[in-house]
Amino acid sequence: MEQNTLVLGVIGSDVHAVGNRILDYAFTQAGFKVINIGVLATQEEFIHAAIETNADVILVSSLYGHGEMDCRGLREKCQETGIGNIRMYAGGNLVCGKQDFESVKERFLAMGFDRVYPPGTMPETAIADMRKDLGMTED
């Protein structure tokens, strides 16, 4: 069976490399082909990587609190470049300060993300969702 491919990176001016490595490890172990574009990744880098590798999912992580700003417009750019239907996940400390996660989630869903995760989410949660979304589970 062909492996499902995901593009993983830390968006914007964010340099948190440890979480990125953990996610890379966890998703690789779970059987995904991980294209890790690392930290300080621009929206364009996510999109270019996804086009070239024919990826199924873009997985954006952000820990420094400016994720909302960095992620805005990503779906539109995907549409412009012909990969408008790609699945987009985001997770981490996506916004500044203590905000109600439900409202954060709403905002990200409105921006075109398919899944949004609060701080402290374990990789297993996203892996299980991704398996379901990509039709990898039996049920």
Binding site: T5, S13, V15, K33, A49, E52, T53, N54, A55, H66
Partner: protein
Amino acid sequence: MQAVLLIDFGSTYTKVTIVDLDREEIIGTARAGTTIETNIMDGLKAALTQIPEPVEGWNFVRKLACSSAAGGLKMIASGLVKELTGEAARRAALGAGARVLQVFSYELTTQDLDKIISAQPDILLLAGGTDGGNKEVLLKNAEMLCGLPSSLPVVIAGNKVVSAQAADILRKRHDPVVVSDNVMPELGVLSVESARLAIRDVFFTHIIKAKGLDKAEEFLERIMMPTPAAVLSAAELLATGHGSEQGMGELMIVDVGGATTDVHSIAKGDPSKPSIMLKGLPEPFAKRTVEGDLGMRYSSEALVETAGRRLFDYLGWTGDQVACQLGLCKEDPWRIPQTEEEAKFDVAMGRMAVSLAVDRHVGTIEVVYTPFGATYVQHGKDLTQLPIVIGTGGVLLHHPDASEILRGAVFNPEEPTILKPQKADFYIDKEYILATMGLLREVSPQVALRMMKKYVVKL
């Protein structure tokens, strides 16, 4: 005596170098006009007769050649994303010694086909998709290329999953169609060696004939490679050494020509300071760049335009004075400076060409402000610690003040983000042997290496 004949069929001159393999010495060098329109052998013979023949006659043990005649090797590259496989394909073509006429990205259009037709490339390099990645574009572009009115040699270096299928499609229209390894097998991994070899193979099995160079092939063993590929090969040998014979270590070669300025660096280019993040495509250890708008004669006008203020500041001249000198360059591309003023102009132009070409070759560093303070991001090669810069090309060799020109390759504190060598020693390829030593490497790498170490002299 074991004499080896080494020939460089240039676009204007055919240069001949005879080497004594035993003594590791140059016996003679000569040049004559390249006679591609009539018979390539005429120019070669004219050059050969200038070197006094020994009484027992020449008895060459090897006869090897490289060529940049008839426009050199002209290529068009095509990838998927411009910054990724498009760029990887461009680098593979440059590394094979080609002049890259154009790089296309995404799906080819009928307008792109028109451009290919009018550009008349010798080879088309078709890339796109990582292995296991995007398949559509390689297949679609293969299909599209069948719409060209005539056959064109194609090297496929894209997604391995569909390469064979793309080749089958292309073979309906084109010949030869060669499949090599993907130039970007995984995202961010550059793998150009296989494509380079495939291009070289197509060059001497097909392009040589198309350019009328095959008439020399009966006399030679075979025409080995495009001249720039020979220079890059020589540079690599000189830097890395061979067997027990040590090389000179990491180095840069700047070749200032009439039409282009080529820069070769044989260096890793890793960050020289700690905690710098590398971004962008990885750089090839042996990297070649070509600047078509930076040349001393054919592209002198473009050079003045690009250098702009810097040139005027350096010369301290008025616009009229520069225009007057520029006119002389255009009138007579083979002009050698007659007056002090002309010499000064040539130095200034050479210096600008070197400076701008090296600016574009080396990497840059950028400060990114994050909530945790400033972080440094490096794109391309950091060559600040590079110890050696070697100059070659007509202007540098015939000029008494070559180091003044080469100083253009050095780090400029006013532009600290451009990672040029900070304190390199300058060398010059006095006998103009780099290309021919790239050829000699094919048969006797140790001799070629020792000869370069002998004939490339410190300034």
